[in-house]
Amino acid sequence: MSRTALNPLELTLGIMTAVGGFVDISQLVFSGQAGSMFGYSLISAFAISTIGIMVYGEMCGRVAAVAHQPLFSLMRHRLGLKLGLVTLVASVLSTLVTTAAEIGGLGMILNHLTGAPYMLMCVASTLALMASMWILPFKWIERTYGLLGLFMIVFVVALVAMHPPWGKMAGGLVPQVPHGLSNKQLLNYSYFVVAIFSAVMFPYEAFFYSSGGIEEGWKPKQLLTNRVTSIVGMGLGSLLSIAVLALAALLFAPTDVAPQMPGSVALQTAIPFGKLGLLAALLGMLFAVGGAAVETCMANAYSISQFFGWEWGRHKKPWEAPRFTIAWIVMMLLALAIVLTGVEVMKLVGYAVVFSIVVLPLSYLPLMLLADDKSYMREYANKWLAKILGWLFFVIVTVAAIAAIPLYVLTAGGQG
């Protein structure tokens, strides 16, 4: 095995970027509603799904570093043209809806920050995102949004300041169904479990992380960096979502508030810290959601380019990978067009989560097969722990994928 290198600065930046970049609009919405409707009991769903994304994230980075090929390219090779095209179309559509949800979320956050009209802010934020993707190389795109997303830490500080019942929160780590739920509430609870798994394990994260590893030129000596970043970074990032859930249980549940709008989540930091807390929360949400919009858009451009064998990557100048550039511009504009039809952000979030979970098994199965394959991975193929956890989570996401659409319909998207 090659010697692994651990650059402390790179590692710190990588972890911080993963923390700040973990949360997106779906997680904000579902954390807020989950905490207010079911107390601390859904902390376990966040914890378990985070382990799942750690496992698959580490595998994606390892495949990128060892096989030097991104996930979607290897997926086409494994699935063939027909099934590969089905996966591509399903993945692009679900990720496009996710991008639209993020842009809608950005529009809302900017509306709350500035008072300017929502639609205008959606257009302005799309243009700003596109400008950042054009001007900045890959490393700086990732770092800018990831590090500025660290404003989200205000939610953790707010939680500590509110003196939560730590024992009850720890109890929430144990998978459970709260007592005394009616049949309807039980269906709602099941929907939230599925939705949280989807929001934490969105397929675009795997495609982005795998392509990002190649953009950054990862080799086997970066495997330890990859492992630490995906485990520590994603683990700490998950704490931000859990903090939002716990604050909702503390502040919203007693008054029967299940946030119907993303902006309500910022109240959680305004209550203990006033205007400064509110502004910090809105800024954190702005950059976290903005980063997610960039990631989802680029993930689609990566998938399309890699599937058809085009030049790709933001480590190149836009004119050095023209079809890839056109792909991300088109994806961003299509997402904006969806938002401009007037469909509500919360509905977009619901659609994004349901479509994504249906695509999850198709996305992660080739990853499992590739990471297991010694002809690509040599001595870096999955060992026993990665195999067990990988296949276990594959079964979990497949069950969730089958249940997602019926649960969405039966619960009206978790609302009844």
């Binding site: 809302m108 509306n111 709350h112 920050l113 500035t114 008072g115 009616s182 309807k184 509430q185 919203f252 008054t255 029967d256 508030v257 299940a258 946030p259 119907q260 709008m261 902006g263 309500s264 910022a266 109240l267 305004a270 209550i271 006033g274 205007k275 807390g277 509110l278 502004l279 809105l282 509500e344 009206a412 609302q415 009844g416």
Partner: protein
């Protein structure tokens, strides 16, 4: 005082697919009333920026309008309750908004146990 039992009576008398179909809008309206109350409460304490308060009230009102328009039985007791909520001024006292939330919660609980 009489509103709560009146709502329940109307609900029991007219219990059909209508109220069950409207449950999601009633839940949403109940929560929005609570969010509105929370915004006004925090605004009164000086914890929120002017832009945030204005835009949250606008968004809440818009969402409530959407819920009211989506009801299959707009002339029902809960429909009237949502209408009364919409007639509250933007800076309504939090306590008044929470009364609407409580009334809608009772309707919701009855529908869920039916």
């Amino acid at each position: 005082m009489l509103r709560r039992p009146l709502l329940l009576l109307l609900l029991l008398a007219g219990c059909s697919k209508g109220p069950q179909a409207d449950l999601q809008y009633i839940s949403s309206a109940r929560s929005l009333a609570g969010e509105w109350a929370l915004v006004n409460e925090q605004a009164n304490q000086g914890h929120l920026t002017h832009a945030y308060v204005k835009t949250m009230r606008q968004s809440i009102r818009q969402q409530l309008q959407t819920n009211a328009q989506s009801l299959t039985e707009p002339k029902s007791g809960y429909g009237s309750e949502i209408g009364a909520l919409l007639r509250e001024p933007d800076d309504a006292p939090p306590a008044a908004l929470r009364v609407h939330a409580t009334n809608l919660k009772h309707v919701e609980d009855s529908l869920e146990s039916a």
